[in-house]
C-alpha cells in the first residue's frame, strides 16, 4: 500500500485522539482563553475535524495548510505549545504531506519526513550526549524520580544505578545510531521496532502518549525510504 496513505491514516488517527483530548479539556481551554468563547472553540474543533477528513482522503495540498493554520491558532490559545515535541512533529508531517500533494509527488514528501524523523532522534541523542549525567545514568534516575506519575513497583528497578546506566547508554546508542535505519530495510524494521518500544516506555514512565502516536505516524516514511528500488 502507498506509504503516504499510511502516513495520512496514522496522522489522522493520532490527531483524532488529540481532538478528543482537546474536547475533554474544553473547560480548561475556555478558562485560559479568558473568554466565554465557546462558539470560537467549537468552530476550531469543526475545522480540525473537517481538515483531518480532507487529509484522510488525501485529496489536496489545501487540507494540510488549513489544518496547520487552525492548529497553530489552537496552540496560540493554549499560550504556546500544548505538547511541545508532538506539536513539532505534527508540523513536520503536515509539511511533508503538503510537499507531496503540492508537487504531486509523494516521494518528495516522504523523503522530507524520513529525513526529519531521523534528525529528531540524532539531535535529541546529541543533546543528551553532551551531558555527562546521561553517560552515568544519573539523569535518567533524576527524570524518573521527578516524573509526575505514580510509580509502579516494577518501575522502581530502573531507579537502581546499574539498570539506569544500562538504559541511559542504550537510549544514547539508539538515538545517535538512528541514521543506520536508512541503510537497508532490515535495519529499518529493527529501528522502527526499537522506536515503538522507546516511545512506549516514554508513555509508561512519563505519560507521553502523543509522542507515541505522532512518531508512529512518521515510520511509514522510513520504511518507504529503504524499500525503494
Amino acid at each position: 500500500m502507498n506509504s503516504l496513505i499510511w502516513v495520512c491514516g496514522l496522522f489522522v488517527f493520532s490527531h483524532f485522539l488529540f481532538l478528543i483530548e482537546y474536547f475533554k479539556l474544553k473547560d480548561a481551554f475556555a478558562m485560559q482563553a479568558q473568554a466565554k468563547q465557546k462558539i470560537e472553540l467549537y468552530l476550531l474543533f469543526i475545522i480540525y475535524l473537517f481538515s483531518l477528513l480532507g487529509i484522510l482522503f488525501h485529496s489536496s495540498w489545501v487540507f494540510p495548510v488549513i489544518f496547520a493554520v487552525n492548529y497553530f491558532y489552537l496552540i496560540l490559545k493554549w499560550k504556546g505549545n500544548f505538547n511541545g515535541g508532538s506539536d513539532n512533529m505534527s508540523f513536520v508531517l503536515l509539511t511533508g504531506l503538503f510537499i507531496a500533494k503540492f508537487n504531486e509527488n509523494d516521494n518528495n514528501g516522504l523523503f522530507y519526513i524520513a529525513l526529519l524523523v531521523t534528525s529528531s532522534y540524532v539531535l535529541a541523542g546529541w543533546a543528551k550526549a553532551k551531558n555527562r549525567e546521561w553517560w552515568t545514568g544519573e539523569s535518567l534516575i533524576g527524570f524518573l524520580q521527578m516524573s509526575p506519575l505514580q510509580k509502579q513497583d516494577w518501575q522502581k528497578i530502573f531507579l537502581s544505578p546499574r539498570q539506569a546506566l544500562f538504559l541511559s547508554r542504550a537510549t544514547l546508542l539508539f538515538e545517535l545510531s538512528f541514521p543506520l535505519a536508512l541503510l537497508n530495510y532490515k535495519l529499518t524494521i529493527i529501528y522502527v521496532s526499537l522506536g515503538i518500544l522507546f516511545h512506549f516506555c516514554n508513555f509508561i514512565f512519563f505519560g507521553l502518549n502523543r509522542f507515541f502516536w505522532i512518531w508512529l505516524s512518521s515510520y511509514p516514511a522510513l520504511l518507504w525510504f529503504t524499500s525503494r528500488s
Partner: protein, 143 residues
C-alpha cells in the same frame, strides 16, 4: 501580550526542535492551602501523582494538561526573574494559576486560599525543594 508578539513567540513550534530530557533541571510544583472558619488546611499539590493505565495510551488528557501546566510554571519561573512583585501578581500565567486553584476549590467551603510554587531538583541522589513563590491570600469571591 499582543497578538503579534504571541505569534512570534509561538513560531518556534513550526520549526523542528528536538531537545528532550537533555538536561536535568528543576521541576516546578504548585501547592495550595485554604482556610475555612479559621481552620487552615495542609498544603495540597495541584498535581498529585497521576495513575496511568494502558488505555491512557489513547486518551490521556489529564496527564497532558498536567505536563502543559508544569511547562507554564517553568515559563513563569524563567520570565519572572525580571519582574517585581506587582508585575508578577499581574502576569497572565500567575493569574491563570490563581483561577485554576479557585476552580479546584469550587466545591469546597473556604474563606481564602493561598498557593506556593516550589522548584524540585534532583542533586546528589536526593530530591531538593526550594520555595520560590508564596502568593498572597485570595478571598473567596462572593456570588
Amino acid at each position: 501580550m499582543g497578538l503579534l508578539q504571541r505569534i512570534l513567540q509561538n513560531c518556534r513550534s513550526l520549526f523542528p526542535y528536538w531537545k528532550f530530557f537533555d538536561r536535568l533541571g528543576g521541576v516546578p510544583r504548585l501547592d495550595y492551602r485554604f482556610s475555612d472558619k479559621m481552620v487552615l488546611s495542609d498544603w495540597k499539590p495541584l498535581h498529585p501523582h497521576q495513575k496511568l493505565s494502558l488505555q491512557n495510551i489513547f486518551i490521556n488528557e489529564k496527564v497532558n494538561l498536567m505536563h502543559w501546566e508544569l511547562s507554564l510554571l517553568m515559563r513563569l519561573f524563567q520570565e519572572c526573574q525580571k519582574l517585581n512583585n506587582n508585575e508578577l501578581a499581574n502576569h497572565e500565567i500567575y493569574l491563570w494559576f490563581k483561577n485554576r486553584v479557585a476552580s479546584e476549590l469550587s466545591g469546597q467551603k473556604y474563606d481564602w486560599f493561598q498557593f506556593r510554587i516550589q522548584i524540585q531538583s534532583y542533586q546528589n541522589q536526593k530530591m531538593i525543594e526550594d520555595l520560590w513563590i508564596e502568593s498572597e491570600s485570595f478571598a473567596r469571591l462572593q456570588k
